[in-house]
């Protein structure tokens, strides 16, 4: 399979958040700041790499009827490992995100990739897919976390941008702000996609027109001669 197409699909066209609207729980729960969003995305990316790798390794070995419990066991194992590693080497971030790390198990974006992609594709394709989907997820969490931190507290990555007098805007700190910000981001993504499509359409139309001009010139040339 074309790796570039796999990546573009996982990162943008079928982005877990922007296109599929999966994984809303961690999205709404942890994106109160850009840093929290980034590390939650990174943890999810690691789990995705692990689960996609193992699922694509055991594809064909695990019978169809028991594939879901098998996938969930694999995902849960990787989530626990990532949680332990974070607790050991990123203790402070673990204290903040600790509550949400175990919930990665039930992030349906991960089971979705195991079921829809890794169980049907080669190991290398599955790793590219995991990387693309994980990075797309991280990008979405980082973006939403940044917007909420900026509007809610006037900060970005913990640095004050508008001075200390910026009043906390409660709505953006609490979950409703996540919904509202996500709505505007989705609108923006749709706008970009429409623009891309229009540009592609214009290019296509231009190609057809040129072809027709060519043809009519040729026929005129034939008439003149």
């Amino acid at each position: 399979m074309n790796k570039q197409a796999v990546f573009a699909d996982g990162f943008w066209h079928n982005n877990a958040i922007f296109a599929q609207l999966l994984g809303m729980c961690p999205l709404l729960g942890v994106t109160t700041s850009a840093e929290n969003g980034f590390w939650m995305g990174a943890a999810t990316l690691l789990v995705l790499l692990g689960s996609n790798l193992v699922v694509s390794l055991v594809r064909g070995v695990v019978p169809k009827n028991v594939r879901i419990p098998a996938y969930i066991t694999i995902i849960a194992a990787f989530v626990t490992m990532v949680g332990m590693a974070m607790n050991a080497w990123m203790h402070e971030m673990y204290l903040i995100l600790g509550l949400f790390i175990p919930l990665i198990v039930v992030n349906c974006a991960i089971l979705g990739r195991a079921e829809a992609f890794a169980s049907k594709n080669s190991v290398s394709d599955s790793l590219v897919d995991a990387l693309a989907v994980g990075l797309g997820f991280t990008m979405a969490l980082l973006l939403l976390g940044g917007v909420r931190e900026l509007l809610g507290q006037g900060k970005l990555f913990g640095f004050s941008l508008f001075g200390e007098s910026y009043p906390d805007v409660l709505m953006f700190i609490l979950p409703p702000g996540a919904f509202i910000a996500l709505g505007f981001i989705l609108a923006g993504v749709n706008l970009i996609n429409r623009q891309l499509k229009r540009r592609a359409d214009v290019a296509k139309a231009e190609a057809i027109r040129l072809e027709m001009v060519d043809k009519s010139r040729m026929s005129t040339a034939v008439e003149v001669s």
């Binding site: 942890v30 109160t32 019978p63 490992m81």
Partner: protein, 207 residues
Amino acid sequence: MKLNREQMQMILALFIVAAISAILLSLTDMLTREPIAQAQRQALHSALLQVLPEHDNEVQDDLLEVDGRAIYPARLHGRLTGLAWEVIAPDGYSGSIRILVGIHPDGHVQAIRVTEHKETPGLGDGIVHNKSWLDSFHERGLSGVHWAVKKDGGDFDQFTGATITPRAVVKAVKGALVFYQSQQIKILDQINSKTAVVAPSAAGGGK
């Protein structure tokens, strides 16, 4: 009951997946157990440094137990300069809040730090980041201070949009002071009868 080939295959597949997961998990546990213990010790160490006055003893090895509480004494040249122990506020906005309270031997607060909480990020977690709020506990004792948030007519600020969290912390810190007042003689007796564990780097001390 006899299992057919297909059923055997299912059982075998799940067994293998579970076994691999178990091996991976125990390997990770072996790798991370020591760093996790160290990280927790380090976190406690830096919290103790922040809540206790100047000292030259190895506070974490010097601890004593009174009424089931682990109390860390701070000593400078063998003289007691402060005490710290952890209190739990069970009535946070979402779950318990663990607070390390450091006090002077005379019963005034030196400083407090939150060591564990599940409060709303950006709202209730001001109890961790809000420096001036944390500083407002400095030198407060039981007498002459109304231990409640301003909304309840007390002396301590609440946060915009978060009253329950600071209310729980204020109540828990007051509880710590009340505990100290009632147990002061017992605690000081225990501390004075014990030899200080001096930090390897520091000279002198030791009673």
